[in-house]
């Protein structure tokens, strides 16, 4: 089995995990959420294995490089970071609802990577601009940030659903974690994501300076990462200084994730230098 085949199975695995989480939420079967957790753990292990197999395969082809160089590889890594972070948070908070709203994002990322006709899973050699030690540091930190924002988004969606619940209400919303827990978790995920987005932008700037002689040139991807940074900086200041919490923070977190997605995907439709992540 090669890495592409394994990663197709991983796509399937995230789909199963997401379905099991959903089943356990709707029918309140603890057994199902246990299964979902184990499906997630196995899938994340498979995802990690696929990542390293692809790395090894590139060496077999004589063009060895970390599998972080195009859209397919970045989506695989994105799903992996989401999987690792949500399993960690789920373990810490002992609440399977975290996975319910995160596993589908990992599944969509992998499904897009595996099924989109525009995305090739061929291992390609690195173009000269990508041959740098900064590649791993830059992509790794950026995607940790993106994944944290993705999970913050999932939790914010839970918050926005939960706050529509009538007091003392039953039904699906009653099973979501308490509002203050969700609010606190969103904040924590944004702190984590903000640190890594900052480090990602900084490593990118240092790399750009060593490749092109300019640490900042307002290319669309750079600019969009800065826009995302501005939005999350607004969230943090509004919360810490003006005491915003709850709904307002959840909405800002959703807007921030939309900007994150645009930084990741949308920028490929704009003119610019930074199209390594393109199809």
């Amino acid at each position: 089995m090669n890495s592409s085949e394994l990663l197709s199975v991983v796509t399937f695995g995230y789909g199963i995990a997401a379905t099991l989480y959903l089943v356990s939420w709707i029918f309140q079967k603890p057994f199902s959420s246990q299964l979902a957790k184990w499906a997630s753990i196995l899938t994340v292990i498979g995802n990690l294995a696929g990542f390293f197999m692809r790395w090894a395969e590139s060496y077999d082809l004589g063009i060895g490089h970390a599998p972080l160089s195009n859209m397919y590889e970045s989506l695989v890594f994105f799903a992996l970071t989401i999987g690792v972070i949500y399993l960690f948070v789920e373990y810490r908070y002992r609440n399977p609802m975290i996975g319910t709203f995160s596993a589908p994002i990992a599944f969509l990322a992998m499904a897009y990577a595996s099924m989109s006709p525009n995305i090739s899973d061929r291992i390609q050699p690195l173009v000269p601009a990508l041959k740098s030690n900064w590649l791993i540091a830059h992509v790794f930190t950026c995607f940790l940030g993106y994944a944290a924002f993705a999970i913050a988004f999932g939790i914010s969606i839970m918050y926005l659903l939960k706050q529509r619940e009538h007091p003392g209400g039953e039904g699906l919303l009653a099973y979501l974690p308490e509002l203050n827990v969700l609010d606190d978790l969103t904040h924590r995920m944004v702190l984590f994501g903000f640190l890594f987005l900052s480090v990602g932008i900084i490593t990118g700037a240092v790399w750009a300076n060593s490749a092109w002689g300019s640490y900042w040139s307002w290319d669309p991807k750079e600019t969009w990462s800065l826009i995302t940074w501005f939005i999350y900086a607004t969230l943090l200041h509004a919360r810490l200084i003006r005491g915003w919490y709850g709904k307002k923070i959840a909405y800002l977190s959703v807007i921030g994730f939309v900007a994150t997605l645009f930084t990741y995907f949308g920028v490929n439709y704009l003119p610019g230098l930074h199209s390594y992540g393109s199809f």
Binding site: Q124, P128, F194, L195, A211, P271
Partner: protein, 471 residues
């Protein structure tokens, strides 16, 4: 005094910070939708007369350097400085009082605290407890109470300053950027193999910059992978000063040459046409096209003939020139002489591409993965023929930026500051021991300015070490 100053009051508001951050985010989008620094002709044809005038007045075509965008950045800087000073003045005495004091009652009122008893008397416990707290948390202050003693310890009080560290990093970034724009330059130059230059053309400017030394291109080499994608661009360069060789180094992308504060980067390359092309006007027999590949940032120059398909490097597909029009029109506008060609990507539909001879950046508007332009006759290097071997020129980016180390300092300060601000907190611990009959009653409580829950868990662990039985 400061509080009454209306200007100060305007800048010291966090509402201003939020408005500025969101305005910067919103306006930044414009420059990612409208390509920056293309030629006026190209803009004119893309947007039409009215929008062109409007965008021009608003500096949309170079918006990140426009006065209004820079003004937003300046306002944000002033806002950050005033807010930081204001808060620092107000909280300095709270953060660093002349004498730090602990109130036992403050800890007793905490919701989360641990209580247990020990069969010994308080005075028997004092030394042992002090040693344990010192080891597990930090050296405590011992205060005698009526019934026994209290231990108080704290650490990382200074982390309350973390946010000011982050804010100061922004000042480093701005200072570095200003030093760079005042004392640095950004230029480019093409050097044919075997030749040398002593000056470069500045970007977005008509001026040239003299370097104070010569750069000689000894050799240029292009290697490709089996599939034809570029593997490496390598230029062998020699630096000469007063006709004396100073140093020779090969540069590749990601590994520039640095000399006297000036950095020389591999940026593009091209082939020198075999015959001398000195004809002043455009001729259909001698078309040279430049293919700019977005993904790699490289420019490839190739000769083209009408009707003969060209393979675009990096597997970007095929391009064929269909005809040369003396007067072409685009969206109802006359754009003068132009080539009409068909671009066939590897996957996807062929598209018709119009390449006006006089508008260099016209094809940028198509927003394709490859930007095609017609090379002007006068840009071609006139060189003596060297039949048999292909001659290349290397395209270099030549940059001087003395502010870069200030910016890098800002980067490090920012990361360190964010870690301190987000993940470290001022933690305080209290252990109170009071006599209860022939035993001791012990209360352990901890608090922090951030992550109170985490500190509670830590206090519980310390309570265990002091002898709290497991639940």
């Amino acid at each position: 005094m400061a509080a009454k100053n209306p200007i100060w009051k305007f800048f010291v508001s966090i509402r201003l910070t939020v408005v500025l951050l969101l305005s910067l985010a919103a306006t930044s989008i414009i420059g990612t939708l409208v390509p920056q620094n293309a030629s006026p002709e190209a803009y004119f044809h893309e947007y039409g007369a009215f929008l062109y005038r409007l965008f021009d007045i608003l500096h949309i075509f170079d918006m990140y350097h426009s006065w209004w965008f820079q003004l937003l950045l300046l306002l944000l800087t002033v806002n950050i400085i005033t807010c930081s000073i204001d808060r620092l003045i107000r909280t300095w005495e709270l953060i660093f009082p002349k004498e730090t004091s602990f109130k036992l009652s403050a800890f007793q009122n905490l919701k989360q605290k641990e209580s247990f008893t020990d069969p010994r008397l308080p005075k028997e416990l004092e030394n042992e407890f002090t040693a344990i707290v010192t080891k597990a948390f930090g050296p405590p202050r011992v205060e005698k109470t009526d019934q026994g003693f209290s231990l108080f310890a704290e650490k990382w009080r200074w982390t309350r300053l973390g946010v000011y560290i982050v804010h100061s990093s922004i000042l480093f970034l701005i200072a570095g950027a200003m030093i760079g724009s005042m004392f640095g330059f950004e230029g480019y130059v093409n050097i044919p193999e075997g030749e040398r230059i002593d000056h470069v053309q500045l970007r977005n400017s008509d001026r040239v910059q003299h370097l104070g030394f010569d750069i000689q291109c000894n050799d240029f080499n292009l290697t490709t992978y089996k599939n034809g994608a570029p593997k490496e661009y390598r230029s062998s360069l020699t630096i000469l000063e007063n006709e004396k060789t100073i140093l020779t180094k090969d540069i590749i992308v990601n590994d520039p040459l640095r000399y006297k504060g000036i950095s020389i980067f591999q940026s593009s390359y091209g082939e020198i046409p075999a015959e001398q092309a000195e004809t002043p006007s455009f001729s259909a027999d001698d078309i040279q096209l430049a293919f700019f590949v977005n993904a790699s940032g490289m420019v490839y120059k190739q000769k083209a003939e009408v009707g003969k398909p060209l393979e675009i490097p990096e597997g970007m597909g095929k391009f064929v020139v269909m005809e040369v029009k003396e007067s072409a029109s685009f969206m109802g506008q006359n754009i003068g002489e132009a080539l009409i060609g068909i671009l066939t990507p590897v996957a996807g539909e062929p598209v018709e591409v119009i390449l006006p001879i006089h508008f260099h950046n016209f094809d940028k508007m198509r927003r394709g993965k490859v930007v095609i332009s017609v090379v002007h006759q006068n840009e071609k290097q006139s060189l003596e023929k060297k039949p048999g071997k292909k001659r290349y020129y290397t395209g270099l980016q030549v940059v001087k930026d003395p502010g870069v180390w200030v910016v890098y300092t800002g980067f490090i300060v920012m990361i360190v500051g964010i870690i301190i601000t987000f993940f470290m907190s001022h933690q305080r611990l209290c252990v109170d021991v009071s006599r209860k009959g022939s035993k001791s009653r012990i209360m352990v409580a901890g608090t922090a300015n951030k992550n109170k829950l985490g500190m509670g868990i830590r206090a519980e662990k310390i309570a265990r070490r002091l002898g709290k039985p497991k639940n």
